[in-house]
Structures are given as structure tokens and as C-alpha cells.
Amino acid sequence: AQTVTQSQPEMSVQEAETVTLSCTYDTSESDYYLFWYKQPPSRQMILVIRQEAYKQQNATENRFSVNFQKAAKSFSLKISDSQLGDAAMYFCAYRTFTGNQFYFGTGTSLTVIP
């Protein structure tokens, strides 16, 4: 089974600064999908950004962007101009191409310091 690793249990960033959250995964597939989810204290899981493995271009969504390194099996999330509302738990997720299984990392708790 695929595994997803988030090696940073906690991170902090000053408001308006940039922070990068790390995610690595293990797979033998060549095609798959990667996601970052945000879970604020309200516990609603919200999709932040997605990346198709067959696309070389890194996905971006406003202040959120990814650094997808397929060979290294790395999928980091960069948050620019951090805002107080970005404080949340962030989960990296992997979706298989042939099946419909999702695998989640253990999460990174992000604190934004005013």
C-alpha cells in the first residue's frame, strides 16, 4: 500500500511570511493524484490544491502553490503571504489512479503568529 509521510508535526510562520510544508510518499505507480487538505478547528476538511502526477507544471491556487518532484516522490505546499486564517491542520493525500483509495499523511499543525 502507498504511504504518505509528513515529517513536520508542527510548523509556525509569521503573518505575511512564507512557509513550506513537506510531504513525501511511496508508490510504484506512475500515474496518481496528490492533494493538500486544510482542517481548521471547525474540523471541516477543505481542499486546498491538487496535482496530477502526469503534469510537470506545479499547481497553484492564489497564495498556495506546490513543489512537485516526481522522481523524489515529494509534494510540498508553499503558503505565501500567510494569513491568520491559514492556521489549521494540513493533510497531504495520495489518490491511486487505478483504484479509488486515498492515503493520508499524519498532518502538520500550522500556527500563524500575528
Partner: protein, 115 residues
């Protein structure tokens, strides 16, 4: 449109009682998932329904846990003879089957507390 709806939002029950948690997925989503999230932890996969196929129950932690999905829509997760270690947030999510880049859409979860 309407998102994934879960009820109840919170449930407190006594040890040994049975509980039912409900999930109403997004209309048209053929895949439905249940996850468990213990305090401060990641998501633990429980069960997955895929259209009319037999569900993937590989994540259910014991035979006290069961789930069904009626009419390809609403799902109920049942925990029998609850134990204190069952206390957690139970998250339901749905997705399209035939769109591989389709993400999971989550409900707000049910916080279960077993006293």
C-alpha cells in the same frame, strides 16, 4: 450546491450502547468513504463504498463496526457495544468514481464521546 451532510454533529453515549452515525453524500457522487480521526491524529480509513460493488471493509477495526449504504446514497455507520477507545471524530467523504482527479468532499464530522 449542498455538500456532504453528517448527523449528529456531536454524540455522547454510555459505554456499551450502540450508536448510528449518518452521512448524506453529495448528489451524484458514487464513492463514499468513512474515516476516523482520534484527537490530534491523522485520518484512519474505515470503509469505502463504490457504486453497486461490495464495499471495502478492510479498515474496520473490529466486528463491532459496520456500515451500509442504501440506494447508493445515504450511509449509516453503526458501532455496537461502544468502548471508550471509540471516542473520536468520524468523517464521511464522497467523490466521483469516474473522475480520477476528483478530490474527496468531506462532511463536518460527528464527534463521538463514549463515557
Amino acid at each position: 450546491g449542498a455538500g456532504v451532510s453528517q448527523s449528529p454533529s456531536n454524540k455522547v453515549t454510555e459505554k456499551g450502547k450502540d450508536v448510528e452515525l449518518r452521512c448524506d453524500p453529495i448528489s451524484g457522487h458514487t464513492a463514499l468513504y468513512w474515516y476516523r480521526q482520534s484527537l490530534g491524529q491523522g485520518l484512519e480509513f474505515l470503509i469505502y463504498f463504490q457504486g453497486n460493488s461490495a464495499p471495502d471493509k478492510s479498515g474496520l477495526p473490529s466486528d463491532r463496526f459496520s456500515a451500509e449504504r442504501t440506494g447508493g446514497s445515504v450511509s449509516t455507520l453503526t458501532i455496537q457495544r461502544t468502548q471508550q477507545e471509540d471516542s473520536a471524530v468520524y468523517l464521511c467523504a464522497s467523490s466521483f468514481l469516474d473522475r480520477h482527479n476528483s478530490p474527496l468532499h468531506f462532511g463536518n464530522g460527528t464527534r463521538l464521546t463514549v463515557t
